[in-house]
């Protein structure tokens, strides 16, 4: 079920009404479990069984890890959980990719092998709920979380519908405590939740789908040489589209959870105002970057190892982060590019961090601009359908096509320029703050006008139920 669909509007209204009219906390939690499975099953009912089975397995494995006294047996149970989750992910998401690469490798040594094409349907949101579930066993193993006694609570923690299919990746350790006692609604919480949902839908339907996606699709789908201006505008359009699409989903999820009395953390903090790439990853898809940091980077040694090893660890983490996004080498290159950006940034910091000029406004602005440009270059690999497409885009961007085609209309160019300029302005003006503080400072009439305008714009676009980009991950 999509947030931007009529079905969700009716579904959410029914769930909210039933939820807040129930007195028993257990009944409410039962309702949320049923609602979450209906939400997920409305896409493909049989996969709800898959979701339940992985959740139930992790619940059981969590108990085994906690009960095991010896370090060795704890590790065995954890490995079981990790293998179960990753093999599920590997089969559904990477099955065909692995077969194709195996075929390619065999062909290199002269063996012709024609693998069967596995007609595998990717369960929506599998990358997200696998990580929700995996965080539980990992935290129990690390000794920072006690297993919950209630299967129902754990099922709800993994499948809570606002964050189920496209994040944020909410760790069981962050959500289970919220199930201990019934949440109270603070003054304004419900309506603030609704405003956040409006903002999220506005970002998705109006800014991503209406203002930017058409231009990005046209540029990335063009088979000929492109002029530099059009190439850059296409990439900027995609940079904006993916931000508004994904941040829009996260904002909707946070808003929906707030309406139900739950608190989810921010998944984005104005990433296009990042100065440097480590700053970017503290602001972009925070729930994934912190997940990778805590469960992969730190166990690999983190910063407590030699610089070369730390750099290698960074690249490994970003390689896997890229692969998490999709079963294609273009995603891997995107991840590796970010990994190399992070390494280069570390080297630069060693030399220039203590210089006085390094922290003045001009340097910061220039560094912010350079970060944005480098991130845009990396987006080329993320969006391109293959390396030929990516190479053509990059050639266009860096003047490789002297007489490239100028295909964008003036309206499209204006839309990209205005939305991108507005986005970057907002990100820079709020980079050290948050949306709640900004709204508190605004005059009441501005908040009213902005909310009404966003709602009217959503109605005007009539929401054609385009799926969120991150659903495919």
């Amino acid at each position: 079920m999509l947030f931007n669909s009529l079905t969700f509007v009716v579904f959410f209204a029914v769930v909210l009404t039933a939820y807040w009219s129930m007195r028993s906390w257990n009944a409410r939690k039962n309702l949320l479990v049923i609602a979450s499975y209906v939400f997920y099953g409305a896409w493909n009912p049989p996969f709800a069984a898959l979701l339940f089975s992985t959740t139930a397995m992790d619940f059981w494995l969590g108990k085994r890890i906690a009960k095991a006294k010896e370090r060795h047996s704890r590790r065995v149970w954890l490995v079981g959980s990790v293998c179960m989750n990753l093999s599920m992910l590997g089969f559904f998401k990477y099955g065909n990719f692995l077969l194709q690469n195996f075929q390619w490798l065999l062909a290199r040594i002269g063996i012709i092998y024609q693998p069967p094409h596995l007609d595998i349907l990717l369960p929506v949101g599998i990358s997200f709920y696998t990580f929700h579930s995996l965080s539980y066993t990992l935290d129990i193993y690390r000794g920072v979380l006690q297993p919950t006694k209630s299967l129902r609570d754990f099922v709800l923690a993994v499948s809570f519908f606002p964050q189920l299919v496209a994040g944020p990746i909410v760790r069981a350790g962050d959500f289970l405590p919220q199930l201990v006692r019934p949440p109270g609604l603070r003054a304004g919480q419900f309506l603030w939740g609704l405003l956040l949902m409006t903002l999220g839908l506005f970002e998705k339907i109006v800014l991503a789908d209406t203002m930017l996606s058409g231009s990005a699709d046209r540029i990335f789908g063009y088979a000929g040489p492109l002029a530099a201006l059009d190439s850059w505008l296409g990439v900027m359009a995609f940079a904006g589209q993916i931000f508004f699409d994904f941040a829009g989903y996260s904002t909707c999820a946070i808003g929906a959870a707030l309406c139900l009395g739950f608190h989810l953390k921010d998944n984005f903090r104005f990433p296009y105002a990042a100065i440097g790439f480590s700053d970017f990853w503290r602001r972009w898809h925070i729930s994934l970057s912190t997940f990778l940091r805590d469960y992969l980077y730190i166990p690999l040694g983190g910063n407590q190892v030699r610089p070369v090893r730390a750099a290698t660890n960074l690249v490994i983490v970003m390689f896997l982060g890229g692969l998490w996004h999709g079963a294609a080498w273009t995603f891997v290159v995107w991840g590796l590019l970010h990994g190399s950006y992070l390494v280069v940034e570390r080297v630069i910091r060693v030399f220039f961090e203590n210089k006085e000029w390094a922290s003045n406004l001009t340097t910061r602005l220039l560094a912010g601009f350079a970060t944005y440009v480098a991130v845009c270059v990396a987006w080329v690999f993320f969006r391109a359908s293959d390396f030929t497409n990516a190479a053509r885009m990059l050639r266009g961007m860096f003047g490789g096509h002297a007489h490239g085609d100028a295909i964008l209309t003036t309206r499209e160019m204006l839309q990209i320029a205005l939305v991108t300029a507005g986005m970057i302005l907002v990100h820079w003006s709020l980079r050290d703050s948050n949306i709640e503080t900004a709204v508190t400072r605004l005059p009441r009439w501005v908040v009213t006008a902005a909310w009404a305008l966003m709602a009217c714009a959503i109605i005007l676009t009539q929401g054609n139920s385009n799926a969120f980009i991150y659903f495919q991950f």
């Binding site: 999509l2 669909s5 009529l6 079905t7 409305a42 896409w43 493909n44 009912p45 935290d139 690390r142 000794g143 920072v144 979380l145 006690q146 919950t148 006694k149 209630s150 609570d153 760790r171 350790g173 289970l176 405590p177 603070r186 003054a187 304004g188 919480q189 309506l191 603030w192 609704l194 109006v206 209406t210 088979a223 000929g224 040489p225 989810l264 953390k265 730190i298 085609d405 100028a406 295909i407 964008l408 209309t409 003036t410 309206r411 204006l414 948050n434 709640e436 503080t437 508190t440 009441r444 908040v447 909310w451 009404a452 709602a455 109605i459 005007l460 676009t461 009539q462 054609n464 139920s465």
Partner: protein, 386 residues
């Protein structure tokens, strides 16, 4: 528990989950204590919400009245979900109409039901290529009914990757992959679309309104062709009828649509990055492949006892001249009939079918479509040996 905005920095602190022993509370309740609570801006939320709701209701009503005042009326949107809903009505022995908007506007289901003894299922789609639907029906082992296929040559041989093909492919794909949520959304949307005039997915959305802004373009900018404005209504069976304003002789709407058809039916120039000769060869190969694929699909259908008849529907004025020039009968129509061995009804061959005038050059008015269907029935019966 912190509650004011003055110390929200404390609240934004990430839970200290790492490498610490669980407290007694955690051991009992199964997790670390909640350390994170989202700040809520302190504003007069109730007052704000009331004003927002009033503005949104007023704005929506004003937009609805404005759209009605300029000629729009409520009707269903033709999307993949409505198509899928109709596709589900296809029974093994159904009569199914496929193809483009001419079959959509020009065939009256009541008249065809009277004449053929079965109520046809309308699967034609505006600006769509018939092939993906034909292939889908041919591959449907349960189907051995009758297909009435409209042929507009340019749309019929549209190569893969072009909008007419994509339209058909998207609809067919949706019919195989539609989720329960998409199905529910369609059921919820239909009553709204039947009563609200501004719900026009291909015309009155923000995107479409922006496209109409009169902004000059660079010389070689690829401006997508304009599509005709609202001129027909659609019912739940997907029967389309031309609105009166469009059928009224000399109306402004009629003139506007006529001028839109001409560029839309003119072949676009080949892409700059492919030599003209190569492009021509590529197109030729794509058309040959289409003939081959259609013939194979027809053969498959017939092998199960199914029947198909191709129909060329009336068109008039400058558009007819353009179509006759760009896609002459001898080119695609005759070849199609020859390759498939299927019966064909070319309206110009029969005086009782060729006397109709299309008000906007491409489709019959609602009234004429009833008469045309009545006159077409005997030809269909003969061609299908009913």
């Amino acid at each position: 528990m912190p509650s004011s905005t003055s110390n929200f920095k404390r609240r934004l602190r990430l839970p200290r989950l790492f490498f610490r022993k669980p407290s007694q509370f955690e051991s009992v309740h199964g997790g670390p204590p909640l350390e994170y609570e989202r700040p809520i801006p302190r504003l007069a939320w109730r007052g704000i919400t009331v004003v927002v709701v009033l503005i949104v209701i007023a704005g929506t009503c004003a937009w609805e009245f404005y759209c009605r005042s300029i000629g729009y009326g409520p009707t269903l949107n033709d999307n993949e979900d409505l198509w899928t809903m109709t596709r589900r009505r296809v029974k093994p022995e159904s009569v199914v109409i496929i193809g483009d908007s001419r079959a959509w506007f020009d065939l009256d289901l009541d008249e065809l039901q009277k004449g053929l003894g079965k109520r046809p299922v309308q699967l034609a789609m505006g600006g769509g290529c018939a092939y993906p639907v034909l292939a889908d029906l041919a591959n449907d082992e349960n189907f051995h009914g009758t297909i009435v296929c409209s042929v507009v040559p340019r749309l019929f041989v549209a190569p893969p990757g072009t909008p007419p093909m994509e339209r058909g492919e998207k609809a067919v794909r949706r019919s195989h992959t539609q989720t329960p949520a998409q199905r529910a959304s369609q059921y919820l949307a239909m009553p709204l679309e039947e009563h609200v005039a501004f719900l026009k997915q291909e015309e009155l959305t923000l995107d479409d309104l922006l496209k109409r802004l009169p902004i000059p373009n660079r010389p070689y900018a690829q401006v997508p062709p304009r599509l005709p404005p609202y001129f027909g209504t659609l019912d739940p069976e997907r029967r389309s009828r031309m609105i009166e304003e469009c059928a009224r002789p000399g109306s402004e709407l009629q003139r506007r649509i006529q001028q839109i058809w001409l560029p839309l039916f003119t072949p676009p120039p080949p892409p700059t990055y492919i030599p003209r000769e190569d492009f021509g060869k590529k197109m030729g190969a794509a058309i040959e492949a289409r003939f081959h694929d259609v013939a194979a699909a027809v053969q498959k259908l017939r092998a199960r006892g199914g029947k198909i008849v191709f129909v060329r529907f009336p068109h008039s004025g400058e558009l007819k001249k353009l179509e006759d020039r760009e896609t002459p009968r001898a080119g695609i129509w005759d070849r199609l009939i020859k390759e498939t061995g299927a019966p064909g009804i070319y309206y110009e061959d029969y005086p009782e079918l060729s006397g109709f005038n299309c008000p906007e050059w491409s489709h019959l008015s609602a009234g004429d479509s009833v008469e045309f269907s009545k006159r077409l029935v005997p030809h269909l019966r003969r061609a299908l040996q009913l």
